[in-house]
């Protein structure tokens, strides 16, 4: 992650080498993350471009060989919050009560008889799953993208999102329950 306490001093040549070797290989994941945040190809492109330009400008605070992908995702997420989220119509904050214990007994009972069935899920095509994910509020969508699609650890997610690990976990838990509800209603509409 950005290690501003010990900035490096890379030569111009070295900067380009790090940029090409460690940053650019993540462009695919970066573009998809940007698109899933903005739902717009041009915005996604701008956001990725801006992120990479920032990454190059602040490359001295990146320590070679550390987690470039998490570092880049953090920059992208911050650019999104600062520049795009403001102008989007999406409500800024979801009303969460994140600190509370989320495994309460009511929750647990509901999960004993899940009425979403594995077979229903397996019959879903990309559109339904994508739509279910996209219908979640951006903060919930983001944790699912980071964890389930990009495979970041809780610790990496905490750094990318600037939130404690406990909050990562509770937000993920809530996001997954919301997603499950969406998938459940798709399954019902498919006749399951």
């Amino acid at each position: 992650m950005a290690d501003n306490d010990h900035p490096q001093r890379y030569s111009e040549q070295k900067k380009v080498q790090i940029f090409d070797g460690e940053f650019l290989p993540h462009i695919d994941a970066m573009y998809n993350f940007a698109y899933r945040l903005t739902f717009d190809e041009d915005d996604a492109k701008d956001l990725v471009q801006e992120t990479y330009l920032k990454a190059f400008r602040f490359i001295n605070s990146f320590e070679e060989g550390t987690n470039a992908k998490a570092w880049l995702f953090r920059i992208l997420k911050n650019s999104f919050i600062n520049d795009y989220r403001k102008k989007s119509k999406e409500p800024n904050k979801v009303d969460y009560n994140e600190v509370e214990t989320y495994y309460n007994s009511e929750d647990a009972n509901a999960e004993i008889t899940p009425d979403l069935r594995v077979e229903a899920l397996q019959d879903m095509i990309g559109d339904e799953v994508t739509n279910a994910l996209n219908s979640l509020a951006v903060d919930f969508r983001t944790v699912i993208i980071l964890c389930d699609l990009e495979g970041f650890t809780y610790e990496e997610m905490a750094k990318i999102l600037d939130i404690p690990i406990g909050t990562v976990r509770s937000r993920l838990h809530r996001a997954r329950n919301l997603l499950k509800d969406k998938l459940k209603s798709y399954a019902q509409s498919m006749g399951y």
Partner: protein, 84 residues
């Protein structure tokens, strides 16, 4: 299976928390041992496990992926060349 569908699991809350840790690759060895031994004996937890892993599989495999615009890398690199 000792515990069929009709018997609620009295450790379900703990198991569901472990389930998330396990599928997210964040569980410790002791937690994994406990959990996998448990779901072999407990139908409700076993079913929950299958459903949650199916959801993750479907997410990984079925969410649409966008192709990166062909000129994006070129755009970025030429902007950077201007600044160097």
């Amino acid at each position: 299976m000792e515990n069929n569908d009709k018997t609620p699991c009295n450790e379900h809350v703990k198991c569901m928390e472990l389930l998330e840790l396990i599928l997210d690759g964040e569980a410790k060895d002791g937690e994994k041992d406990y959990y996998f031994a448990h779901i072999e004996q407990c139908m409700p937890c076993y079913r929950a496990h299958n459903l949650e892993s199916a959801i993750r599989t479907v997410l990984r495999n079925n969410v649409d992926k966008k192709e990166v615009p062909a000129d994006l890398v070129h755009c970025i690199k030429s902007k950077i060349r201007e600044t160097v």
